[in-house]
């Protein structure tokens, strides 16, 4: 018993050590293995122009974003206004990836809320989504002039995300050589 009395203290010390390390970690940021890799190639039908296709190669040479959205996704509705304003004011070309969605629903959704996208690709069965490692909608990728993914936002884009992350990053990437 004499030695036993110190055990709780030792356990507590170990716990504190872990909690202290934990403070420096960011559990919400799940790293994407796709960062600093080229955008996976795909060629998908366009939502608005039937018969045409779109692929990431079409956007090469500029800084652009890829936004995964769907009409069934509640958070997409939440980010829509913020994202649209950002796209409009900064004139960022954005490829919308309409993920696992009925094209008719997507069109209605865009008609009601407004269409901020330069191009919209229809990923009806979600195959391009798999290549991009999408595990939740919405997700937003920032791609540089060389077609390399430089950043990914998981979940909705908020005012803070635009102000603190997206805008500075886009301005920086625009400075880089193509």
């Amino acid at each position: 018993m004499k030695k036993g009395a110190i055990i709780p203290l030792v356990i507590f010390a170990v716990l504190v050590a872990f909690l202290a390390i934990g403070l420096g970690l960011k559990p919400r940021e799940v790293p994407s293995p796709f960062i600093d890799k080229a955008v996976p190639e795909f060629s998908l039908p366009k939502l608005m122009q039937e018969g045409q296709t779109i692929s990431p190669a079409d956007l090469k040479g500029q800084v652009w974003m890829l936004n995964v959205f769907a009409s069934w996704c509640v958070s997409c509705r939440a980010e829509h206004e913020v994202l649209s304003r950002f796209i409009r004011t900064e004139k960022v070309p954005v490829l919308g990836l309409n993920y696992k969605d009925e094209p008719s629903d997507a069109k209605k959704w865009l008609a009601a809320l407004g269409n901020p996208y330069q191009h919209i690709a229809v990923d009806y069965d979600g195959k391009a989504g798999i290549d991009l490692g999408v595990y939740g909608v919405p997700e937003t990728f920032v791609v540089d002039k060389k077609g390399i993914i430089r950043h990914k936002v998981t979940g909705p884009v908020y005012e803070e995300t635009v102000r603190d992350t997206l805008l500075p990053l886009i301005l920086k990437l625009r400075e880089e050589q193509g």
Binding site: F12, L15, F18, L19, L25
Partner: protein, 661 residues
Amino acid sequence: MIPEIGHFALVLALVIALVQSVFPILGTVTNNAQWVAMAKPTARAQLLFMSIAFACLVISFLDSDFSVRYVANNSNTLMPTIYKVSAVWGAHEGSLLLWGLILSVWAALVSIFSKGISAVMLARVLSVMGMIGVGFLLFMLLTSNPFERLFPIPAEGRTLNPLLQDPGLAIHPPMLYMGYVGFSVAFAFAIAAMLGGKLDAAWARWARPWTNVAWVFLTIGIALGSWWAYYELGWGGWWFWDPVENASLMPWLVGTALIHSLAVSEKRAAFKSWTVLLAIFAFSLSLLGTFLVRSGVLTSVHAFASDPERGLFILIFLVLVVGSSLVLYAIRAPKLRSTGTFSVISREVGLLVNNVVLVAMTATVLLGTLYPLFIDALGMGKISVGPPYFNTLSLPLGIVLFSAMGFGLFLRWKKDKPERLFAKVRWVLLLALIIAFLVPILFMESFTVKAALGVFLASWVSLTALLWVQEQGRSPFKLPLAIWGAAIAHIGMAVTVAGISLTSMYSVEKDVRLDKGETYEMAGYLFAFNGVEKVQGPNYIAQRGEIVITRKGEAIATLHPEKRNYGQGTMPMTEAGIDGGFFRDLFVALGEPLGEQAWSLRLYHKPVVNWIWLGAALMSLGGFLAAFDKRYRMVRRRSQKLTPKQSDALAATATKQEVTA
């Protein structure tokens, strides 16, 4: 002006807390009776200034004073008055203020209902509580001042997290905090007793009613949170093993163990150091809960406004409070000798089983909650621990606990015979077995072993509790409240167990797509969908659906599930439509629109789900009754008879004794 008064009141409260935590306890060391006597007035003054600060924040909210940053961030003019008030504790800064206020309420209550306690003991208890108060006030003033001004003043505020705009959740945090902070009383008693070096039956007797009351509040708080999750989150679950839920469950489990262990310490002078350790753990886990919620160390649906800097502060505070008490424990515990002896079959061992299982459950929950953090901290990746882990491990522990619960009540102190015990309970055992087989066969659509096991344990626990009351051999009206309290709390636990096992085994859940006018049949009920219309609420716009439920042509209920949009970029909220009942809930949640008139709908039939919370209500009632047992009042009345002079003399001699000891 009002925010400045509030701010100033907080600063004064801090100064008073400093005095409260330094002088009374120094007085016990230097034998200065005047310093010792400062404990009571400082504790009460602390309450006064915390109340002023809290009132100022409430007034700022009611006035919609958006020059206060916290008000502007969490309220707007359109919000109904009740949510303007509950918004006070809707986010970090205000929650802390509420925490501090409640701490001062508990300390003031201890100072009032302390007639049987020696002045020295009281000085130590209130000093310890004062130290906790200093920590929280510093935290508030340094990192999270609720009265911080905002300039330029916005014309309109943002909004309270829509999830929190709900009557159930308006009172959930205060209840939870009453529980969390209430454990600080038992903690302070334990520390005070260790400082005095005397862990006798007296400290256990003093700590018991306080621990009970804190536990009652925590029970109510957890139950409200779970009930809220059930009807507000819109997917029919009632417990998610989310880190923040776990953070409230752990102090509850340890608190339950503490209640039982205190009984042994008081009556049999056994488990002395163990009880002290439990008292430390219960409050430490409450603090840890605060750390987990506020630091953002773990991902959780509850992690509102987390901030690593604040996390660091709480961590340091945690180290000081828990670390120093465990050091004190390591010094004192080896000298404690439990005098009570007992054999293998005895009430002591019964309660030991209770304690060991409850602590094992706590360790399980703690490990599961922190495991993602451990793995991440060791650089081994990011994982999450889900319900399968918790369910798998808590099931066998629960079975042991509930089996022992039935026997425990009949066990005699010191030594008992298994034959005697078995003879007592064999008919109850048989009856419980019969019920366990009949209930699933007669009332449910299929027989499953798990459900039968749940029903068996529930009947066993409740029937033994009833038999025990009857065994007392006295008129039910003359029984001590403690007996009633224990029996009712045990029955409450049984009701919750029955609710959990039957709901999880027999709930039917369907996701369907219904067009306006279509119907769907489930569990014998016909759900007819009458479409969705737009409704304007006070500060939201809702899509409100109408579902008419009939059974064999007979109308059962008309439900109106809603999807509310509170604007300002917040997530839409689901308000489920529930037809509640004693035997079943019918639960409908609106999903997403799927075309012109069609919607996805989620339909549930959940048998006896309300028993989960009914049981919690009974447990709370039981804990409350036991706290007000005559025994605890007797102590007070006896000492009231002393004249002031006598009690002063008593205190003085007590001081001397303790100091010389």
